[in-house]
């Protein structure tokens, strides 16, 4: 048992301490930070924070009150400044003191007509804020709670039938999270699987394997390698997911438009129950390929048979999203190599029947166990074969 941990620790540390791993690990948080940073910076640079002027020709807003808040997320809101006449407002606009003028028509009560005079198109938030400003001042005599409710409007939540799951179809993050978690899973499994493949083939190629095998059993070696490299992938995935969560929190704070983002709990537990056996399954398959082949290039080519199908659901993303309960989506959810990406995505899009989740996880677990058995056979039979690969027949024949 102790030796299995030694192998596990060795495999884990030899990868996580490598510069290229640290670079790969930091790439996602750094990319996230750069995207958010550039987004915030671009918004700051492009935004005009000068006040917006308005002229009330209707006489409905004799003593207007400003909006109760002064900022939206990290950005200050543009203040409304009243002018007595259109001429004085136009003079201020010409002097660049304000960025535009809303002219409230004399027959506003009947027509709702408001004219905007500006040199360029203004930021959309200015229109929303001015509408809110009008509503709040119209309702000046009403209690504050009513004013705020009416000004904020309704938050429409789409709820799938027969379930408590809810979905805001207008929210960008609702779809971004399952897609990006699928992509991160692919990246992480490719990384840890690649490391595992490399570790097994390297030990065969550099002939260290025979020394190691006189110290530990093939099963200790295999389990140690799988768990060690699996931990590398899980650490990577964990840190990337953490970075994504932090990024989403920052994005929500910076841009309150995203604040109605909800993460469905079903998605989270489906993610967990599919990713773990999928990680074990792919790692074991990689270990098997490493033990049966003779050189790293050949091993990488064969391993593509397992890694490419994992990404296949992305090619059919449109079909899955438009028909999440269709035969293709269900088929992908049940096939062990496509399930890790498809099932969590469908958990966001539809009400997943429990039997589908159960069957998918059962098949994944069964395949993971089978892959471990095959890897164990391959380790016993193929580790010390230099220059001659193990045939499928030898792998499956009776021990």
């Amino acid at each position: 048992m102790k030796k299995f941990w030694l192998v596990c620790k060795h495999e884990y540390l030899r990868h996580v301490l490598r510069k290229r791993f640290i670079m790969a690990l930091l790439s996602v948080p750094l990319t996230m930070a750069v995207i958010i940073g550039v987004g915030v910076l671009a918004a700051f640079v492009s935004m005009d924070f000068r006040p917006i002027g308005f002229v009330d020709q209707s006489g409905l807003f004799s003593n207007p009150q400003p909006l109760p808040r002064t900022s939206r997320g990290w950005f200050p809101i543009v203040a409304q400044s009243q002018f007595a006449s259109e001429e004085s407002a136009r003079q201020a606009l010409a002097d660049k003191e304000i960025q535009g003028i809303f002219i409230i028509a004399p027959d506003y009560w009947e027509t709702g007509k408001v004219t905007l005079v500006a040199e360029t198109l203004l930021d959309s938030s200015i229109y929303r804020d001015f509408e809110e400003f009008l509503i709040l001042n119209f309702l000046a005599s009403k209690p504050e709670t009513i004013r705020e409710r009416l000004a904020s409007g309704a938050e429409i939540v789409v709820r799938s039938t027969g379930t408590e799951r809810q979905l805001d179809s207008s929210n960008f993050f609702t779809f971004l999270v399952p897609i990006s978690s699928g992509l991160l899973f692919m990246l992480a499994i490719n990384t840890s699987g690649g490391y595992l493949l490399q570790a097994v083939v390297e030990e065969k190629e550099n002939r260290t394997m025979e020394i190691v095998l006189t110290s530990v059993s093939t099963n200790q070696l295999m389990i140690g390698k799988i768990i060690g490299n699996l931990s590398v992938g899980l650490s990577q995935l964990g840190i990337w997911l953490l970075a994504t969560i932090v990024g989403v929190i920052f994005a929500i704070r910076a841009f309150p438009e995203f604040s109605n983002f909800r993460l469905d709990p079903t998605f989270l537990w489906v993610l967990l129950v599919t990713f773990l056996p999928a990680f074990v399954m792919v790692s074991a398959l990689m270990a098997m390929v490493g033990a049966t082949t003779t050189e790293s290039r050949e091993a990488q080519q064969i391993s593509a048979l397992f890694t490419i199908p994992i990404g296949v659901p992305f090619w059919f993303m449109g079909v899955i999203m438009t028909n999440p309960n269709g035969p293709l989506a269900i088929g992908f959810s049940l096939f062990p190599l496509t399930a890790p990406v498809t099932l969590p995505l469908r958990a966001i899009l539809t009400n997943l029947p429990f039997w589908q989740i159960g069957l998918s996880v059962a098949l994944l677990t069964l395949f993971a166990a089978g892959a471990l058995w095959l890897a164990s056979r391959a380790f016993q039979l193929g580790l010390l074969r230099y220059g001659k690969k193990l045939s499928l027949r030898e792998l499956f024949q009776k021990a």
């Binding site: 390297e202 550099n206 002939r207 025979e210 190691v212 006189t214 110290s215 059993s217 230099y386």
Partner: protein
């Protein structure tokens, strides 16, 4: 009690019979030679002894019984196909492999430091293995074999690729380990090296044991068939019991028929009035014995 008992083991890979009903014993404290030409089945036999391969039939007893995980820590093994983790610093690589042999990280580090100094590798300990010369890497592999102070040392082709200085160093090391009571199994196709070091040996060809026993006894058994004669006068050509006579420098090599003793030849020579400067019963080398055996048994294809 034997350190290793190999009892009628056989191992087949596909259609190829790598080991064919082989049996031998290795006794405590000896330097035992496991000999044979390339592809004879030596390495497969070693891997069966080390429990890396399972025999198709037969049994192996190591250190008093079947191989266990605990026993692996009492064995030092230097395989023919040698390798180290090329991208790791030398001390890191040695420490990992030493801990796999049951040493604590602290003990491993202490012993490795001593051995690195002994093998003149201490100043290179922080270098990556791939930055070391081939000779340095071979010394590092010897350190891995011996760092855990094993009772049984098994080395496969120990002199392969070594220069004369390092060959001598390995021989000295093996003698030293033997003097310390360690049992050493030396597997090689370089038979002259075994003649220098081994007490007993087994010779394998095509998976079969063709020769087994004490080196001195084997040599005695196969000596006496060749005699070197340096006559001062003419050597008669019609001597009885002689297969052929070959000139060898200023002397003659006489090949005796089976059953003819050197003393009989000497009597004939004296009776025929041959004056002798030298009469030498030639002791055959292991190479010659091996060729003699496989030729007579039709084992060479």
């Amino acid at each position: 009690m034997s350190t290793i008992t190999v009892n009628q083991i056989s191992k087949r890979f596909g259609k190829q019979l790598a080991v064919d009903n082989a049996s031998f014993e290795v006794t405590p404290g000896e330097i035992f030679g496991l000999l044979g030409p390339n592809g004879a089945g030596k390495t497969t036999t070693l891997r069966i002894i080390l429990d890396i391969f399972k025999p198709d039939s037969g049994e192996v007893s190591v250190l008093g019984g079947k191989m266990t995980e605990g026993k692996k820590d009492r064995i030092g093994y230097l395989p023919e196909e040698r390798g180290l983790y090329q991208d790791l610093p030398l001390d890191h690589c040695l420490t990992y492999l030493a801990t796999l042999k049951g040493l604590s990280a602290h003990t491993a580090a202490n012993r490795i430091e001593i051995m690195l100094k002994r093998f003149d590798l201490y100043e290179h300990r922080k270098k990556k293995v791939k930055e070391l010369s081939k000779g340095m890497q071979q010394k590092a592999q010897l350190i891995i074999t011996l760092v855990h102070d094993p009772e049984l040392v098994i080395i496969d082709e120990p002199f392969s690729g070594l220069d004369p200085v390092n060959t001598q160093m390995v021989k000295d090391m093996l003698r030293e380990e033997s003097q310390r009571g360690k049992t050493i199994v030396m597997c090689t196709h370089q038979m002259h090296q075994v003649e220098e070091l081994s007490d007993r040996l087994v010779l394998i060809n095509k998976g079969k044991v063709v020769l087994y026993g004490r080196l001195a006894e084997i040599r005695r058994r196969y000596s006496g068939q060749d005699v070197i004669v340096h006559p001062l006068n003419e050597l008669p050509k019609d001597l009885p019991g002689i297969i052929r006579i070959e000139p060898e420098n200023s002397a003659f090599r006489l090949h005796l028929q089976q059953g003819v003793l050197p003393k009989d030849l000497l009597s004939h020579l004296v009776n025929r009035g041959v004056e002798l400067e030298r009469f030498e019963v030639r002791i055959p080398s292991l190479d010659e014995i091996f060729i003699q055996i496989v030729t007579s048994e039709g084992l060479i294809e």
